[in-house]
Amino acid sequence: MLNSNIPAGPLDNKWEDYKGHVKLVNPANKRSLEVIIIGTGLAGASAAASLGELGYKVKAFCFQDSPRRAHSIAAQGGINAAKNYQNDGDSVFRLFYDTIKGGDYRAREANVHRLAEVSANIIDQCVAQGVPFAREYGGLLSNRSFGGTQVQRTFYAAGQTGQQLLIGAYQALERQVALGNVEMFTRHEMLDVVVIDGKARGIIARHLITGELERHFGHAVLLCSGGYGNVFYLSTNAMGSNVTAAWKAHKKGAYFGNPCFTQIHPTCIPVTGDHQSKLTLMSESLRNDGRIWVPKQQNDPRKPNEIPEAERDYYLERRYPAFGNLVPRDVASRAAKERCDAGYGVGSSKQAVYLDYASAIERYGKIECRKHGIDNPSAEVIRQHGVEVVKEKYGNLFDMYNKITGEDPYTLPMRIYPAVHYTMGGLWVDYELMTTVPGLYALGEANFSDHGANRLGASALMQGLADGYFVIPYTLGNYLAGEIRTGNIPITHPAFEEAEKAVSDRISRLKNINGTQSPESFHKRLGKIMWDKCGMARNEAGLKEAIEEIRALKAEFWRDVRITGDINEFNPELDKAGRVADFIELGELMCVDALQRRESCGGHFREEMQTEEGEAKRDDDNFAFVAAWEFKNEGWELHKEALEFEVAHPSQRSYK
């Protein structure tokens, strides 16, 4: 039986109550307890810094050349917090409720409420670290709106919020490195978890420069290794983002929660050709001010500026008047796909819609002219002033669009299309963020817990930092308090020997295949299967085909992959091959999970289950549970954690 260890009592007291009664570790004992942290994004860096400050001996690992480069850095738009600085009716309850509803009632209430509670502390902490959030002229913090909410609770730093938050956490981490509390291992990749007597006791890591395998002991292991969106090959994830650490943990007994819950982000720069290596997001914050439309006429050959207002279909405003362009991501993505599939798409591929800033530029321009006392300004003067405002708010995003497409978004509407962005699924964890392997934790995007079937914008940064700064420092102590008598287990222990040998054997096996096809080419093929059959819309026949195709691909991979270079050297091809092998296995599990979930919810859209208006049709009677998959050699076994909603009662999710 899965025990989520949710504390008893009323929802809004659970966390306070938990903190008041949780076991503590005294400072002297902390010094002899070692904690391994995999990944140095927002979750990993904040956890490493905070645990180092508490006095634990921390070892942190990242595959990049510096912890500052983890992919959290690329988050653009912002971070939510229930500060209610705008006096617009926000509260912890509202943030909790919006998140549960936005997740289509597939997240755990207690975790989400805790997230909303600590959200305000995150902003305080970041400002204290010197994170330069956007400010108003009075010197106070500025906010903007994100999808799925009707309040302004998103804090931001231009379009580089993730960068600024990560630099804050990175600096806190480096301070602990300087103080000797954290030992940092860059260009290292975790390749297995070492389990001794049922508990996670260390890892096997590969030094990516020398190729050497290393053994590291820890009283606990924290996976902060991010999401697995790259299973689709094309996504907004970084090239190196991978599932390997989480997958190794899964194979060592950690259940995988809701693997099919993936987020397709509505506003990304469209694919241009087969050479495409990744996709670039255009922040959701752009939907604050931009308007999304397609021509009312199918296959309209005209340029966007030649299409008069009356012949444009602002389909989000038309379909969802209450939320308009700020509907949640899953809804906006499906609506874009629906228009393109129906023949209204734009651009040469016809797989794009317009995101238009003309009216925002005019609106801001008029406000600025009034501020500056310019009477009867000409259209050109209004435009100039408006462009200045838009530049300040979104300049870096507009520049990025211009560099990638060669088009000027200040004069032409941007062309955008949905792309894989985030994975709500991940390792199953209990309230304390512990996986089904005692002593093995998962934080941030690597776990499944807070976003249900669809994550709201600006909530990933919030969750990563909540887990690292404010949750794990309490919950980890509750476990480690029972470990103070466990001395350091020598890395000569047979379990370490065995794990290292298994890793080494697998690497040799991969290398010795000596086939003809590159790891990259297999990754591309996997991505195509996943996007076509387990992407924005899924159906039974397609998923069954996908499972067969993935199995065949796996067999072909292990027969015909070619890895150049040697094992004992810097060899990105070898790193890539190992990651692709894991993605292939994960891809199968995602399809198995999507097939099992015969309902539509959030980002998981089963074509068989939709309302007459084409909206997702949930089935609370049969699917109000977390699917937690246990790895077995011959397949997977499904365990269910029932979701109980005591406060936010499930209703049809409507943004009309």
């Binding site: 690329a74 010197g130 010197g139 480096e174 990638i404 590159s518």
Partner: protein, 254 residues
């Protein structure tokens, strides 16, 4: 935007590892689309090298959206290539034309030793941050985020400095391999904010000392760093660092 394809000659620095001597190899690549990014063009070449059973070109890259700071190619004599305010990953092939020869090298600086081909070791930057590039505040100690108002101009200037991605282009562009633009961006970011005030003097002294220890050269004052910075970090940050350093030297108690 009109698209076109091109055939190119690439001269790429190949070096097996830190110890062995490197040299240029010449490759021709054909049918490159102007819509590709520069790194996607390298991907095409690498795919071919793998098919031919040769070792692909090693290069650092990750986010491919200009923010992680991992990519680091010295293209035709300029860090990150010909476009201003652009990282290598955001450079697109429409910057080139059919028949061009493109020379690609790693960052060159004693403090950035080559690991393989175009990959260099920039851990010296992390050690400079460790020396003092932070505000000493433990988790949980913070006051309300709006307790201290900060003038918008100051916050904006701090943000502009904090936009540094730590890629090292400034070092690669400098004939002395100075890291002063990188260090000054961090000094400015933290010195401009009230939260960074208490550690202002010790921070600048410790970070400059660590920079010297890592083997970075002294500032040439030519502004090459600013000219190539993909995030357009201003050289005025170096002036601010010099002021901070001077004040610290004159008034520090230590």
């Amino acid at each position: 935007m009109e698209h076109y394809t091109m055939n190119l000659t690439l001269k790429v620095w190949r070096q097996k590892n830190k110890k062995e001597k490197g040299g240029f190899e010449t490759y021709s690549v054909n049918d490159i689309s102007s819509e590709m990014s520069f790194l996607e063009m390298i991907d095409v070449l690498n795919e071919r090298l793998v098919r031919e059973g040769k070792d692909p070109i090693a290069f650092d890259h990750d986010c491919r959206e200009g923010i992680c700071g991992m990519c680091s190619m010295y293209i035709n004599g300029r860090p990150h290539g010909p476009w201003e305010g652009t990282t290598t990953c955001q450079l697109h092939m429409r910057a080139f034309k059919d028949g061009d020869t493109i020379v690609v090298e790693p960052w060159r600086a004693n403090a950035f030793p080559v690991i393989k081909d175009l990959v260099v070791d920039r851990s010296s930057f992390d050690r400079i941050i460790q020396a003092g590039g932070y505000i000493s505040v433990n988790t949980g100690n913070a006051v309300d985020a709006n307790a201290i108002p900060i003038e918008k101009d100051k916050a904006d200037t701090a943000f502009a400095a904090a936009a540094c991605i730590g890629c090292g282009a400034c070092v690669a562009a400098c004939k002395n391999s100075s890291a002063l633009l990188f260090v000054s961006a961090k000094i400015s970011h933290l010195a401009l904010l009230p939260q960074g005030g208490p550690e202002r003097k010790t921070r600048v002294e410790a970070m400059v000392a660590q920079m010297d220890k890592e083997g970075f050269g002294s500032c040439t004052s030519t502004g090459a760093c600013e000219a190539v910075c993909p995030k357009e970090i201003s050289i005025t940050n170096i002036a601010r660092l010099n002021t901070e350093y001077g004040i610290a030297g004159l008034t520090s108690d230590k």
